[in-house]
């Protein structure tokens, strides 16, 4: 597989821009680690999202993920250096049944991804949520819902209000985003950073706010529930 797809750790430490404040030096061995698993149907963009966050850009080409890929990035939150580990899983159903459960171990948060241009990937969400329940002992693990590919406006099949309703039902915050949109670098960033902040502060991620208010975060003043395409 592509070296560039699999060098996300290196990329994350050497990339400039958003990463400049935290890159260059490996985190001390004792920095906290947040382990986040990313799940959802095949081709919804799990690999692209995790790559975007860890390497700071959209990958040129991605292939089907076989098994589990791993990417990581060090960030600094309120002066604390934290490693965010993203476990990117295969979408095909057969892999999750017997393969992936090992990687649910000690997971701190779950990111469910669907493709906004593919209603079937949205309809699969209940089974992913169920799957997740079976693997995770703790019920209070933060979970978020991400609708990807919002840049393909003319092809949207999952309306925001429908997704929002679903997210509310399952007590998850919803984010609509695009891993691809080049003008949108902050957004994917914001999603994972939101999660990281929540994990750091140990607060439950979902507060029963009206969706449009988003989630209030100290360093992320922007509302999170938007499509910034």
């Amino acid at each position: 597989m592509a070296s560039e797809m699999e060098s996300s750790i290196e990329a994350s430490f050497s990339s400039s821009g958003v990463m400049s404040a935290t890159s260059g030096i490996l985190p001390p061995a004792r920095s906290r680690i947040f382990k986040i698993i990313v799940i959802g149907d095949s081709n919804v963009g799990k690999t692209c999202l995790t790559y975007r966050f860890c390497a700071g850009r959209f990958p040129d080409r991605t292939e089907a993920t076989i098994g589990v890929d791993f990417r990581e990035r060090a960030v600094e939150i309120d002066g604390e250096r934290i490693k965010i580990q993203l476990w990117d899983t295969a979408g095909q159903e057969r892999f999750r049944k017997s393969m992936v459960q090992h990687y649910y171990r000690n997971v701190h948060a779950v990111v469910f991804v669907y493709d906004m241009t593919n209603i079937a990937s949205f309809h699969s969400l209940p089974s992913w949520i169920e799957e997740c329940k079976q693997h995770l002992l703790a019920n209070d693990i933060p979970r978020i819902l991400v609708g990807n590919k919002c840049d393909l406006r003319s092809a949207i099949q999952v309306p925001t209000d429908l997704a929002q309703k679903f997210a509310d039902t399952h007590s998850m915050p919803l984010f609509e985003t695009s891993a691809k949109n080049p003008n949108d670098n902050d957004h994917v960033e914001a999603i994972f950073m939101t999660l990281a902040h929540k994990l750091k502060s140990h607060k439950p991620l979902m507060l029963s706010q009206p969706p449009d208010n988003g989630i209030t975060l100290k360093p992320e003043p922007k509302p999170t529930m938007t499509c910034w395409c």
Partner: protein, 403 residues
């Protein structure tokens, strides 16, 4: 149909270009080509010799040779008509969407520089072959990564022959990966740690403490490394090797890679993420020939039957992968030079117990093991692995072998 002839998998290959040794290499290569053609042209075809050629240094050397030898290794008659279906598979296949998604994304499998139009044509053929095989074999289930295997055959032998070869392969070597669930695949992965343990207990213990699991090797196993190696020459070299060997050989090869990277692993932080990350990034400059011969040696020293218990313990599962490898018809009886091996094998076994069918329990028999080691020297370990494995894993074959 030399789809990638421009790539030149011949003498320019770096591992062969030994500077001053070039003349020597050329002579060696020429000799090997002659031997391969001799085996091909003998009547009946000397399949056992072809197997040894596929395993030994350099493998089958060129795609032109592969087009002739791969069908022999899979016992395919190239004159038979290719599998066909009159149905509109794209409309009726439940797997079509998944196959389409995976094939469309598999751009890297095609030679760099190939015109888009040609590549797209091949991608369409790839989809057709996969759907055809799935339709003809309803017991087989598509998995992501299967397309990485099929594309290798498509690029080497072309569409018509690829369908025949992959169909045979899918019902044999790949059979376990194509079950309704991946339980058997997982079981095969469970051989990885016991193999490592036999050779390097320290490395094994380190990996166990890290709880790294075995999923880093999943794509290696189920794509025969086609998914992770970017140089196609390395992929086809490994396919030569695997086509000539027992279906479990890829897991031995995976173990050999891990063992080869011992120091890097031990230098890693002892946690799942670090070790998984390190191992899942496969180095592109592996010493393939050395590793192939090492994998063969390991297979002979620690055959699957010896590891079965450990592997099962990994999963607390009773069922062994072996159960699905029963039909090893590929190693068919008419393959004459196997006779030589058989006789030697028998000769070595006979002093111990001439009446008992010792081959049914080779792992309990020290003499068999010694015999194996002895033969290893003479024939090359991996070449022997073919025979030995067939004995252990295929009752049917055994009957043919020892009538």
């Amino acid at each position: 149909m030399a789809l990638r002839s421009a790539q030149g998998d011949g003498p320019a290959s770096s591992r062969w270009a030994g500077g001053t040794l070039k003349a020597d290499f050329n002579a060696k290569r020429k000799k090997k080509v002659a031997e391969i053609y001799q085996a091909l042209n003998s009547d009946p075809t000397d399949v056992a010799a072809l197997r040894r050629m596929a395993i030994s240094e350099g493998g089958l050397l060129t795609d032109e040779i592969r087009r002739k030898v791969w069908p022999k290794l899979l016992n395919i008659n190239t004159n038979d008509p290719p599998p066909l279906s009159g149905k509109n598979l794209r409309q009726m296949s439940k797997d079509y969407q998944q196959v389409l998604l995976d094939v469309r994304r598999s751009l890297r499998r095609f030679p760099p520089g190939m015109p888009d139009e040609q590549r797209e044509g091949l991608q369409e053929e790839l989809i057709d072959i996969i759907l055809l095989i799935l339709e003809r074999n309803p017991q087989l289930h598509y998995y992501q990564g299967y397309h990485d295997i099929v594309v290798t055959f498509l690029l080497v032998v072309g569409e018509r022959l690829a369908a025949s070869l992959v169909e045979k392969l899918s019902t044999h070597h790949l059979r376990d990966f194509m079950d309704p669930t991946m339980d058997n695949t997982k079981h095969i992965l469970n051989y990885l740690m016991p193999i490592i343990d036999q050779v390097n207990p320290e490395l094994h213990d380190f990996m166990q403490s890290a709880e790294v699991g075995t999923i880093f090797a999943l794509s290696w196993l189920i794509t025969w490394f086609g998914h992770v190696l970017s140089d196609f020459r390395h992929v086809v070299r490994l396919y030569d090797f695997f086509l000539a060997c027992h279906p479990l050989m890829p897991i031995y090869f995976a173990a050999v890679i891990v063992l080869h990277r011992e120091q890097e692993v031990l230098d890693c932080d002892c946690d799942m993420a670090s070790v998984h990350h390190l191992l899942s990034q496969i180095p592109q400059d592996l010493p393939y020939e050395t590793l192939i011969s090492r994998a063969g040696d390991l297979f002979v020293q620690f055959p699957p039957s010896e590891l079965a218990r450990e592997a099962a313990a990994q999963q607390q599962a009773e069922r062994t992968a072996a159960s699905t490898f029963k039909d090893f018809e590929l190693a068919s009886a008419q393959q004459r030079p196997d006779m030589v091996l058989r006789q030697r094998f028998r000769g070595l076994l006979r002093p111990e117990d001439p009446t008992k069918d010792v081959l049914t329990k080779p792992r309990t028999n020290r003499f068999v093991k010694l015999a194996v080691m002895g033969l290893t020297v003479a024939l090359g370990a991996a070449a022997l692995a073919v025979v030995k494995s067939a004995l252990e894993w295929a009752p049917k074959f055994q009957l043919q072998l020892f009538p």
